[in-house]
């Protein structure tokens, strides 16, 4: 099997990794309870989606 001839320098590795970025999740406040939630997902603090109660929140 082929092997690398030279060890990669710190700079090279770091330059490649400059493109590794984390993104901020897009959040919105729940229209029912005001808690932050992800769009298109059921609000887990109040259990509402699309103005309707979908599930009963677990810790309340």
């Amino acid at each position: 099997m082929a092997h690398p001839k030279r060890r990669q320098s710190k700079t090279r590795g770091r330059k490649r990794r400059t493109h590794y970025k984390s993104t901020v999740p897009s959040l919105m406040s729940c229209p029912n309870c005001g808690e932050m939630k992800m769009p298109h997902k059921v609000c887990l603090s109040c259990g509402f989606y699309d103005g309707k109660s979908i599930l009963l929140p677990k810790n309340k």
Partner: protein
Amino acid sequence: MEHRKRGRKLSRTASHRKALLSNLSIALILHKRIETTVAKAKELRMYIEPLVTKAKSAFKVKDSEPAKSVHLRRIARKKLKNDEAVSVLFNDIGPKVVDRNGGYTRILKTGFREGDGGDTAIIEFVDFSYLDTAEQEKTDKKSKKKTVKSTAEETVDEGVKKTKRKSAGVKKSEKTTAEEKPKKKSGKSEKGSFNKARDKSKSKNNEEESKD
């Protein structure tokens, strides 16, 4: 080539995938709502909606063409390896969705699972309220528990009576009575581990009684 091929593989072999979808369908039909991953929910929708349509049309032609109705039931039985699920589908769900033209299920995304980070979703029948089904399942569980308890108590009572009779009559060694009892009870008890634990504790009491 994979081009234009419909459906997800779900990282499974064909037979494994088939079994998975069948099992998920049975669970959904019996519970009316299940929580799974988004990908599985979407695959399940493609699998189960035609079956609901079959149940619906079977209900429609039940009186005019009974043979066709039975035929549809048998097709559904091929896809659902469970008799109870088929009867629930055709007796409860079919009549309830007659006025709906497809789209019998609803998928709701419920965030990410702790552990593997899988994106989860709830899939449910549109025509069934989750509060009603949850309540019904609660009552079902309660009634089941009650029946199990009552049967367990009955068997224990019988056991006590027998040992009393024995101790009163012929003098037998404690070991034999202790050995005989669990055999008799295990035949009668429905749920194994639960009743076994009860029987053990009761048989101890009985030993004490026979000592007296």
